[in-house]
């Protein structure tokens, strides 16, 4: 043992691994096993299932080849959900991300009173369950006694009052904005930390040259925050593809599937329509979309983002 320790004790990982074979095998094997059980197996099984027709209970699954995928190509509800996901993503990228940035900026620039209180308040919803958020907004936006409509009417903006969940033209945006409300704290905290790393002197230099806040944000802050923005875009992308909880609580995809998104469609097809094979095919499509968007993002947006 002593001789082998000295022979391989070269400070590298290989040296370490040879000296501590058991520790290395165990240390690598356990996480691999956990990953295989809880992430690898479900993915593989989902792909497997997508080639079958199965109601979730029958002892026999019927192999149907690519039929589920063929059906998907002509499924109107799939396209509605896909477009809704895209809309949801755009709303999420515009509203919570820019709002989160603005809040972080005004706190850093000391334009607000009690910044740490503001930070806590804005971040709080991130820690809340989306189910609770949904139930809360169900009350706030209730057409009969909801606080929001009452507020609009009392300040003379009664003409803005809508059926927030009932009107198929705006229901999806209502949902996306509620989700954004709960998500704003996330980009805020990222940007707040990011702004702390931007050298203060670059802001001072811009101020001396007469830059206003708009110029400061556009020409000094945002360009130096590119790595943060890249990470936030990724986070938002995954968050919007996972949109599920709010829809389950608030609209269940109604009216006429107009507020459905892919995540909820999978759930509906699998558990309500008992089409597990089709649900699996939808899941695989989501996986492919998420994977390719992430690849594009990593390749394009992140390119050079970490250069200093």
């Amino acid at each position: 043992m002593a001789s082998s320790a000295s022979r391989f004790d070269d400070g590298t990982f290989v040296g370490f691994a040879r000296r501590h074979v058991f520790v290395t095998m165990f240390g690598v094997a356990v996480p691999l096993l956990v990953f295989a059980c809880f992430i690898g197996y479900p993915i593989v099984y989902t792909i497997y299932l997508s080639f079958f027709e199965w109601n979730g209970m029958a002892p026999q699954k019927k192999f149907v080849g690519l039929a589920n995928y063929a059906y998907l190509l002509h499924d109107k509800y799939f396209y509605i959900a896909l477009v809704n996901n895209a809309k949801w993503l755009i709303v999420s990228l515009v509203f919570p991300v820019s709002l989160g940035f603005l809040i972080a900026y005004v706190m850093k620039a000391r334009l607000v009173f009690a910044p740490s209180l503001l930070r806590t308040i804005v971040f709080f919803p991130v820690t809340m369950s989306l189910i609770a958020v949904g139930l809360m907004f169900l009350l706030i936006l209730n057409p009969v006694f909801g606080a929001f409509d009452t507020l609009l009417r009392s300040v003379g903006l009664g003409f803005l009052v809508h059926e927030w969940f009932g009107d198929y033209r705006i229901a999806l945006y209502t949902l996306a904005v509620i989700s954004g409300w709960a998500f704003t704290g996330m980009p805020m905290i990222f940007y707040f930390a990011g702004l702390g790393d931007v050298p203060k002197e670059t802001f001072d230099a811009a101020r001396i040259e007469g830059a206003g806040h708009w110029r400061m944000i556009r020409s000094v802050a945002l360009p130096q925050l590119r790595p943060v923005t890249a990470i936030i875009v990724m986070l938002t992308l995954f968050e919007s593809l996972r949109a599920f909880d709010l829809i389950a609580v608030l609209t269940k995809g109604a009216p006429f599937g107009m507020t459905n998104v892919l995540g909820y469609l999978v759930y509906m097809e699998s558990f309500w329509n008992s089409r597990f094979g089709y649900g699996a095919a939808l899941s695989v499509v989501i996986l492919v979309i998420a994977g390719s968007l992430a690849a594009v993002l990593l390749g394009k947006v992140l390119k050079g983002a970490f250069d200093v």
């Binding site: 002197e201 001072d204 230099a205 040259e209 360009p223």
Partner: protein, 369 residues
């Protein structure tokens, strides 16, 4: 072109005073250096002149205007930061043009200005590079260029050379001095390096503990320090201080039988100090070594040689006598060795006497003249 004047300027952070009662007049075209140890308030002072920090008391005038509450852009100043503060995602050209674009300078005018400044600073072939592709010295010149194109009334510089290596620093020092001679713009320059202050400033402002200790020409500060702090801060190696008791004729330390006769002409100034502690200040170059075998006289002190430092053009000796420690600067011909006991005399025409408690210089040079 503008003069700068601070009247009773003070700065508090949440009621904690950091700077108090700053009074300073900087003449038009003067190169003024703020110098002092780290944390003494130099940057804060400069940032208040720039308008990056609010002034919590007193008034600041630049040119003929009271600018105490004006935003930085309206103060007719430009600043060079210690970290250069270049915009990392902009090319050198865009960095220099940044302010002019904001001020809506015409395109052609911007181009001419950039070319002129780039030529003067020898950065013409770097204009399309990003700051990360520049060396420290080049970045420093770009930062200078960005300040120059503003054509401000006052240049503010916060330790602009401290991120350069020793050789570059000496070069940049004379470069900046030459630049100032050509452009002639009033400059307030911050440094913690007393050698930089001595060589560059036409006026030195020595600060400590949030207060101005002395503001005068470099040689004035060197030869007539207002107090013990200034005396110890300016000059390298630092002035030696011997805490002794004044008996009316001489400064004494009974414990190690030290006795230094005070010249007649200085006794008037020390009249009030009889029986009290007086700090005698002696610069390293004002020790003279006596030949071995010299007779100990009334003005000679016996020191042990603790350390010998050969610097080539001179020798520094670390000396001790009882509790007293001194550094003496001697010509390279000296042959003292470690552990020697040697006799030294002090050039009493050039020593300073400081109040043992307050550190004030006991000689009132203003009244003497």
């Amino acid at each position: 072109m503008a003069e700068v004047s601070l009247k009773n300027v003070e700065k508090r952070y949440a009621m904690v005073p950091v700077l108090s009662g700053l009074n300073l007049d900087i003449a038009d075209g003067e190169f003024t250096v703020l110098v002092g140890p780290s944390g003494c308030g130099k940057t804060t002072t400069l940032n208040m002149i720039a308008g990056l920090e609010s002034i919590t008391g007193g008034t600041l005038r630049i040119g003929a205007r009271d600018v105490t509450t004006l935003p930085p852009k309206d103060r007719d100043i430009a600043m060079v930061f210690q970290s250069y503060a270049l915009f990392p995602h902009m090319t050198v050209r865009d960095n220099i043009a940044f302010g002019m674009k904001i001020r809506k300078t015409p395109k052609a005018e911007i181009e001419t200005q950039i070319r002129q400044v780039a030529q003067r600073l020898r950065i013409d072939d770097l204009l399309d590079r990003l700051p990360k592709a520049l060396s420290g010295g080049q970045r420093q010149r770009v930062a200078l260029g960005r300040a120059l194109v503003r054509r401000p009334g006052v240049f503010l510089m916060d330790e602009p050379l401290s991120n350069l290596d020793a050789k570059m620093r000496i070069e940049a020092r004379s470069f900046l001095t030459k630049m100032h001679q050509e452009v002639g713009t009033t400059t307030v320059y911050v440094t913690h390096d007393q050698a930089e202050a001595m060589t560059m400033g036409s006026k030195i402002v020595v600060m400590n503990g949030g207060k101005i200790q002395q503001a005068a020409a470099p040689l004035e500060v060197y030869n007539r320090p207002a107090n013990q702090f200034v005396a110890g801060f300016i000059g390298s190696p630092a002035m030696n201080f011997l805490r002794l008791v004044y008996d009316g004729n001489a400064l004494l330390d009974q414990a190690c039988r030290l006795r230094i006769e005070v010249p007649e002409c200085r006794r008037a100034a020390l009249a009030g100090q009889q029986g009290k502690t007086v700090t005698l200040g002696v610069r390293p170059e004002h020790f003279r070594i006596l030949q071995p075998g010299a007779i100990p006289g009334s003005d000679s002190i016996a020191f042990n040689v603790d350390v010998v430092q050969h610097l080539g053009h001179e020798i520094l000796l670390d000396l001790s006598a009882g509790d007293h420690r001194c550094i003496a600067r001697l010509p390279p011909s000296d042959r003292s060795k470690l552990g020697d006991g040697r006799l030294f005399s002090i050039d009493m025409d050039h020593v300073h006497y400081f109040n043992g408690d307050s550190g004030e210089n006991l000689i009132d040079y203003a009244r003497q003249q």
